[in-house]
């Protein structure tokens, strides 16, 4: 890790839905402190928050690692959940396996992964069924 990188690490806990989003909130606060422009801060916040919610609702939590470089932010969201069987299908707008109780909480519309893609400059999903999912995202800073 180079000197001009700030690394933030979080355990994303799925016990309590109310606390979901705490990692994203901390990342957003840090980026604002660093004086990153609002548009870029929001793109990181949206991508990270949807990814964090996914770890909570689909994968029983996981780990988030965020590296802030002068010109980009790298996010790695890793979980040991059930994995994603068909990634192309999961990326489709509106596709969701979330149960109704999740929809009643305001999520599970199948917009998360496509919105993560839209708000990042690069995104890669590694997923193995029964082992887990790791999502790599990069947002370039302007």
């Amino acid at each position: 890790m180079s000197e001009d990188c700030i690394r933030l690490e979080f355990d994303v806990d799925s016990e309590n839905f109310a606390s979901a989003g705490m990692a994203s909130e901390a990342v957003k606060t840090k980026l604002k402190q660093l004086g990153i422009n609002m548009q870029d801060v929001r793109r990181v916040a949206i991508a990270m928050y949807e990814g964090e919610i996914n770890m909570v609702i689909h994968a029983k939590g996981g780990k988030a690692t965020v590296d802030i470089f002068p010109h980009r932010v790298d996010m790695i969201l890793a979980d040991k959940g059930p994995g994603i069987a068909d990634i192309d299908l999961a990326m489709k707008e509106g596709y969701s396996t979330a149960p109704d109780n999740i929809r009643a909480l305001g999520f599970g519309a199948g917009m998360g992964l496509p919105n993560m893609k839209k708000n990042t400059d690069a995104m890669k999903i590694d997923s193995v069924q029964g082992i887990g999912t790791t999502i790599y995202m990069t947002v370039n800073l302007h």
């Binding site: 109310a18 979901a20 909130e25 929809r103 305001g106 999520f107 599970g108 199948g110």
Partner: protein, 117 residues
């Protein structure tokens, strides 16, 4: 429009950040699905919603939304209010239902974003 004007029009009650009631807002959005807010909202300052959980405040925070209006008299619990207070988000609660709340605000000149002049 000042947030205090929303309070007046909707017979609402301000539950957090009462020092911000004189702040100006020009546009609003309404949704119960937070993913929709995260996917479609641009720079609207007010979120009108029937959903009442901490993720509403977190979503507002991610989108730089400054005021959350809860319709149908929903009363948020302390977790939600503490979070909103910490994030500087004004939480209002109105007895009106979603359709009427939105209609009254629109009629009073609060635009939706794409239609702002």
């Amino acid at each position: 429009m000042k947030i205090s004007k929303i309070v007046e029009i909707l017979k609402a009650e301000a539950l957090t950040c009462k020092d911000k009631l004189s702040d100006e807002v020009i546009s609003a959005c309404a949704a119960d699905m937070m993913s929709d807010v995260l996917a479609f909202v641009k720079d609207q300052a007010v979120l009108v919603t029937g959903l009442c959980n901490p993720q509403v405040i977190r979503t507002a925070e991610m989108m730089d939304i400054r005021c959350v209006l809860l319709v149908r008299g929903k009363r948020p619990d302390a977790t939600i209010l503490d979070l909103a207070e910490a994030k500087g988000i004004v939480v209002l609660c109105s007895p009106h239902r979603m359709y009427v709340a939105c209609g009254l605000l629109y009629k009073a000149g609060l635009c939706g974003g794409e239609d702002c002049v």
